[in-house]
C-alpha cells in the first residue's frame, strides 16, 4: 500500500531556495529584496532563521518587514505581475536602496510570471533592479544563495574594463546558513590580506555594494566550499572571465596554510608563504601552549562525532585530524549530494594510519547518527570489555543534541540550525578561528564542572 518510504522526514537543516536567496540579500549592503510570492513565505523564512541562525534574523528590510507582493488567488489566476509592479513601485518610493532584487516563490514560479519584464519597466540610472527565479521548490537555501548571486552576477555586476591585480572575491560562505558567516568572512579576509591581496567578501560591514558591482575586476574567485557557490563562480567565469579555485573552509593552521599556498599559486604571487605561515603558527601555538598541561591532566582528549553541512563537516573533521588532535570516528554529511560528489568529499577526510579518518556517511536524517555509532561500536554480551565511544563529543547542529545526550557526550552546535547559541561576529576561519573553535569545544566539554 501507500507506505511512506522506509525513512521519515526529519526537521530540515535548511530553508527553501527562496529562503536562501532572501537571507543572502539581507546580508548584502544597500540591497532591498522584493519577494514575489504568497503571503506567508516571508514569515516562514523569518521564523526558520529565528530558530536556526543563532538568533540572527531580519535586520533592515528583512525578516517580517521585507517587501513582498503577497499574491493571492486572483493573482494566481490572472498572473501576478500587476501586483508585483505595484509592489515594486511602492518599494522604490519607500525603501532606500541602490540594488533591488526581485525573488520568486513557488506559486509565482509555477504560473510563470515574467519578472524580468517587470524589472525592465523600472530601469533607471538611480538604482538597479535584478530579477532572480528562486521558486522555493527548486531546492534548498544553499541553492537559493547560488541562484540569486548568479542572477546578480549576470544582471548587475559591471563588465570590467581591466583586471585589478591582487584582488579576489570570496564565495561559498552562505550568510545565515553559516551562522558564523560574518566572522568567517572576516577571518578569511584577514588571512588572505597577509598575501597583500584586496579581498572582497561582499557581505560584511567592511564591504560595500560597489565592491560587488566591480567584482568582475577580480583576478580570482575563491570558493570556500565543495558545493556552495560553484554556480556563482561559473557565472563569473562565463560572463566576466574570472577564473576560480575551490578550497576547504579554512579552520585552523593546516587548512589556512593550504589556502595561502593555493591562492599564492593560482595568482603566481611572489609572497613568502612559508614565512607567513611560520609566524602565524608561532602565535597560534604560543596561545595553545597554555592549554597543554591541563589537556593531559584532566583528560580533554575526545572521540568526535561530526554532523553537518558540507562546509562544516569537512572543515571541522580536517581541523580535528590535522591540528587539534581529537579523533573523528564518524562524520555525517546532511546535504543531499550525488554519488560523484559524495566520493570526492569522502576522499577529503582520509588520514594516515593509525587515525585513518572517520567513517563517512551521507544521510540527511541525522537522528540516524546513533545507529551509525552502534555499528562502529557493536554491543557485546557483556559491556565490560567492549570498546565504547568514550569519552565522546558531538559537533553538529542543535538538532544533534538528542544524539549527544543518548551517548552521554557534550555537544557543540556549529552547523545550521544553531538555536542554542547567540552568534554575531564570532568566526572559526584562519589561524585565530582555530583557537576560537578550540575555546568553544573545550568550554562545552567542561561546562558541567
Amino acid at each position: 500500500m501507500n507506505s511512506i518510504n522506509n525513512s521519515y522526514i526529519e526537521r530540515p537543516r535548511y530553508l527553501c531556495s527562496l529562503g536562501g536567496a532572501l537571507s543572502t540579500l539581507e546580508a548584502l549592503p544597500e540591497t532591498i529584496p522584493v519577494m514575489h510570492c504568497a503571503s506567508g513565505c516571508a514569515g516562514s523564512i523569518a521564523w526558520a532563521q529565528n530558530g536556526g541562525s543563532a538568533l540572527q534574523v531580519g535586520g533592515h528590510c528583512g525578516g517580517l518587514t521585507v517587501p513582498s507582493s503577497n499574491v493571492g488567488e486572483r493573482d494566481v489566476v490572472f498572473g501576478g505581475t500587476d501586483r508585483l509592479t505595484e509592489q515594486l513601485k511602492n518599494t522604490l518610493e519607500i525603501m532606500e536602496g541602490r540594488l533591488y532584487v526581485i525573488i520568486t516563490g513557488c506559486v509565482t514560479e509555477i504560473i510563470g510570471d515574467d519578472i524580468r519584464a517587470v524589472a525592465a519597466e523600472f530601469e533607471s540610472g538611480d538604482y538597479a533592479i535584478v530579477a532572480a527565479n528562486t521558486g522555493g521548490f527548486k531546492g534548498n537555501s544553499y541553492l537559493g544563495y547560488d541562484i540569486v548571486l548568479t542572477s546578480i552576477v549576470n544582471q548587475y555586476v559591471k563588465k570590467a574594463a581591466s583586471k585589478k591585480k591582487k584582488s579576489v572575491n570570496i564565495l561559498g560562505i552562505v550568510p545565515y546558513m553559516d551562522v558564523f558567516w560574518r566572522g568567517n568572512l572576516k577571518g578569511v579576509r584577514r588571512l588572505l590580506e597577509k598575501l597583500g591581496l584586496e579581498v572582497n567578501t561582499f557581505f560584511t560591514d567592511e564591504d560595500s555594494l560597489d565592491g560587488l558591482k566591480n567584482s568582475s575586476e577580480a583576478e580570482l574567485n575563491i570558493v570556500l566550499s565543495d558545493v556552495y557557490g560553484h554556480e556563482t563562480a561559473k557565472a563569473y567565469e562565463e560572463t566576466h572571465g574570472v577564473p576560480y579555485i575551490t578550497a576547504t573552509l579554512p579552520i585552523g593552521p593546516t587548512a589556512s596554510a593550504e589556502l595561502l599556498n593555493a591562492v599564492c599559486g593560482a595568482l603566481c604571487l611572489e609572497a613568502d608563504v612559508d614565512a607567513i605561515v611560520g609566524a602565524e603558527n608561532k602565535r597560534y601555538y604560543r596561545c595553545l601552549e597554555l592549554l597543554s598541561d591541563t589537556y593531559n591532566d584532566i583528560d580533554l582528549q575526545k572521540f568526535a562525532v561530526i554532523i553537518g553541512d558540507v562546509n562544516y563537516a569537512v572543515a571541522v573533521t580536517r581541523f580535528l585530524l590535522d591540528d587539534f588532535g581529537w579523533i573523528p570516528v564518524l562524520t555525517q554529511f546532511t546535504d543531499v549530494l550525488d554519488g560523484e560528489r559524495q566520493e570526492h568529499i569522502a576522499g577529503k577526510l582520509k588520514a594516515p594510519a593509525p587515525l585513518n579518518g572517520p567513517k563517512v556517511v551521507f544521510d540527511t536524517n541525522a537522528s540516524e547518527v546513533v545507529r551509525y555509532i552502534n555499528e562502529l561500536y557493536p554491543k557485546r554480551e557483556s559491556d565490560k570489555y567492549a570498546e565504547t565511544i568514550a569519552p565522546a563529543f558531538v559537533i553538529g547542529s542543535s538538532l544533534d543534541r538528542a544524539a549527544a545526550l543518548k551517548i552521554g557526550a557534550p555537544h557543540l552546535s556549529v552547523s545550521f540550525p544553531v538555536s542554542n547559541r547567540a552568534v554575531l561576529s564570532r568566526g572559526y576561519t584562519g589561524f585565530d578561528g582555530g583557537l576560537t573553535l578550540i575555546e568553544d569545544l573545550l568550554s562545552a566539554a567542561v561546562a558541567m564542572r
Binding site: 488567488e73 486572483r74 494566481v76 489566476v77 490572472f78 498572473g79 505581475t81 509555477i110 504560473i111
Partner: protein, 291 residues
Amino acid sequence: MPGKIKQIAVYGKGGIGKSTTTSNISAALSKLGFKVMQFGCDPKSDSTNTLRGGQYIPTVLDTLREKTNVKATDVIFEGYNGIYCVEAGGPSPGVGCAGRGIITAVELFKQQKAFEKLDLDYVIYDVLGDVVCGGFAVPIREGIAEHVFTVSSADFMAIYAANNLFKGIAKYSHSGGALLGGIIANSINQPYAKHIVDDFAEKTKTKIMQYVPRSVTVTQSELQGKTTIEAAPDSEQAAVYMELADRIAKHEVSATPSPLEISELREWAASWANQLIALETGALTSQAQGI
C-alpha cells in the same frame, strides 16, 4: 419533488466538436423538458455561444477580476429555451493560471450551492480540449460531475486524447471521481470510421452513445449563432442530437474504462493503418464497408 442533479462533463481533443455537441445536447434536453445549465470550462469562453445567438457572455473570472465577491447569480445568463449559460473564463493567453481559474469558478458555484437553488436537472461542463493541468480535471474529481462523455472522431489523435482522458478517469475513480458514460463519436461519415471507434470502445470496455455525422446543417446553424436543435429542429442532424440527449437522460450507471497502454495503442493504430491501406487497394472493400 426535485430530484438529484445529474452533473455531466464533456471532454475530448481540442476542436473535435465538444462545444457544438454539448450545446446541442443542452438544447435537446431542454426540449425534453429538463432544466439545464451549461458550464463552459474554457478560457476561450465560447462554449455557450450557440445557445445565446452567437453572443459572448461575461465570464465568472471577468467578474471576479472586477470585484472580490461574486454572486453566482451574477454570472448566469439565460439562453435558448431557458438554458442557463455560464462561462468560467480565464486570464489572457500567456499569463496567470487558467487551470486555477477553472477551479476558482467551479468552487464558487459549489460553495454558493447555485445549482441546488436553481432546481436544475442537468449541469453539463464543457471542458477545453487540451487538458493541460490539474485545474481542468476539476469537474471530474470527487463531488462534481458523476458522468463523463468524451467526444472523439475516428482520427488517431482524437482517440489518443480520449485514451488519455480514460487514464485520468481511471485514476480519479479510486477517490470518488466521475466515471465514464461513453464515447460520443463525432464526424462519423464513413463506415470504416464507425468500425474504428467501435473497436476502440470495445478495447477500452466502454460504449458509443451516438454516431454523429459531420453535417453542413451544423455549420449553417453555427453561422446563425444557433444550435442545430434551434435552427433546424426538423433536420436529420437534430434527430441525431435528440436521440443522443434521450440516451444521456436514460443513462444511469457509468463505469471505469480500461485505457490502453501507449504501446498497445500504437499497435492498435498500426493494425488499423494496415486495414485502411488494404481498403484503399480494394482488398477488403466489401467487408470493411459492411456490405
